[in-house]
């Protein structure tokens, strides 16, 4: 072997990629990096990781056991809201289109599609049989105002989603729960 060190490094890189791929949960979607719009429009980014979710689940156990049970199944929650201006509107629309086509290619199920005059909503689910939901992706483009990207990763029991939607009157969760129950 002429270059053992180079060979070892290449092998280590492949192994590292393999390990990373294994560690990435099935419901995780990488939206990429977002920057605040130059015009000063809205920019909201929420990223909650598993250790924080576990803490909140423990805190909620006593008073809201249903919420605590749902939270224990979550691994990650990411929400991005980006205000649209002339500088980023085309880029955001292209990104939404690419994310949706990638999800379709990866076997995600599109359960909600709503396209109105100035609103384009897509809700995707990654399920594990009929037992659990491994990931939820919501993409929204409101043509003049903002783009919304949501990814929830976890091991969520499908019936719990509808319960939480009913409990807290969250319409999209009710729809997701109903769509999953119809399957």
């Amino acid at each position: 072997m002429k270059h053992p060190i180079r060979y070892a490094l290449t092998l280590a890189a492949f192994v590292g990629v393999g390990i990373h791929a294994e560690n990435t949960p099935p419901g995780y979607v990488d939206f990429g990096k977002f920057s605040p719009p130059a015009s000063g429009g809205e920019f909201v980014e929420v990223h909650i990781t598993s250790n924080l979710i576990s803490m909140v689940a423990r805190l909620a156990e006593k008073n809201e056991p249903e919420i605590a049970e749902l939270l224990r199944g979550l691994h990650r929650v990411r929400v991005n809201v980006i205000g649209l201006d002339d500088g980023n509107r085309a880029e955001m629309e292209a990104r939404v289109k690419k994310i949706r086509s990638d999800l379709d290619a990866q076997g995600w199920e599109r359960i909600v599609t709503a396209q109105k005059k100035d609103e384009d909503v897509g809700v995707y689910l990654k399920t594990r049989g009929e037992e659990a939901v491994e990931g939820v992706v919501v993409t929204v483009i409101e043509s003049n105002r903002e783009a919304v990207f949501i990814n929830i990763v976890g091991n969520i029991k499908a019936e719990k989603i509808a319960v939480i939607g009913e409990r807290f009157n969250i319409e999209p969760l009710k729809k997701i729960g109903q769509a999953v129950e119809k399957k």
């Binding site: 130059a38 920019f43 909201v44 909620a60 969250i170």
Partner: protein, 248 residues
């Protein structure tokens, strides 16, 4: 102890030896008596001296302990007081990363921090004050807090928020903090960071940054979340009756 000499003893001792005059005997007797009383007097004074010496030793030990105690309390107070007027290294890093990336001049208005000692004293003092139960719960839950307020020297200035956010994220990530929330719009810039190794609900730390065209506020708090969450759940807003539907 030297036996008390008597005239008879002296006479007995001197029998067979040269005869002494009565005066000599008396003088010797008096000397012996004086010596024996002196020995007793010596014993008493030695005892008194020993007592005085031990009392003096005890007093000096007590003084030394008292001085040590006063020095300790003064040290605690000085640490508490000087620690009050600066922020921790993490909050300092947050502040510095904003100042460097904003490419502007800043004036410090105030930096203040309260740690466990100050909070303990505050809780002890406020125990005698009539406080709302929620306020008292919050005061007991907080383990430490600090805040720094800084003003832009140039007055109202347009800041490059994307650059600042990226710089702050990098600085905080290198110190073990993850950004949980960022909200940026025309009027405000708010970012909240939490420790990426946070596991216990009883000791949660968070750092906050708010920024606008006039100045910046950095803050940090360490708290036991359990009583605060208990308080939050009890509040009426968490009840579902009459809740407005949430759409997005």
């Amino acid at each position: 102890m030297i036996p008390m000499a008597t005239s008879e003893n002296l006479r007995a001792n001197t029998e067979g030896s040269k005869s002494f005059t009565a005066r000599d005997c008396h003088a010797r007797l008096e000397t012996r008596l004086c010596c024996s009383r002196g020995y007793e007097a010596d014993s008493d004074s030695n005892r008194k001296i020993r007592l005085l010496t031990s009392a003096a030793t005890n007093a000096s030990e007590t003084c030394a302990r008292l001085r040590l105690g006063i020095a300790f309390v003064l040290a605690l107070l000085s640490v508490g007081l000087t620690g009050c007027f600066k922020v921790s290294s993490d909050v300092g890093a947050l502040r510095d990363s904003v100042m460097k990336s904003a490419a502007a001049q800043w004036d410090e208005k105030i930096e203040i921090g309260v740690g466990p000692i100050t909070l303990y004293l505050a809780r002890a003092g406020l125990a005698f004050v009539d406080l709302e139960p929620e306020a008292r719960t919050a005061l007991h839950a907080v383990r430490g807090a600090e805040v720094g307020v800084y003003k832009l020297r140039e007055g109202h200035k347009e800041l490059k928020r994307a650059v600042i956010l990226s710089a702050v994220d990098k600085a905080m990530a290198s110190r073990g903090w993850d950004r949980m929330v960022a909200v940026i719009n025309e009027r405000e810039f708010v970012a909240i960071y939490v420790r990426n190794d946070a596991r216990s609900t009883r000791n949660v730390r968070a750092c906050l940054l708010t920024l606008n065209g006039e100045g910046m506020v950095v803050a940090s708090a360490r708290s036991n979340l359990e009583p605060l969450m208990e308080m939050a759940f009890k509040r009426a807003e968490w009840r579902t009756e009459g809740r407005i539907p949430i759409h997005f």
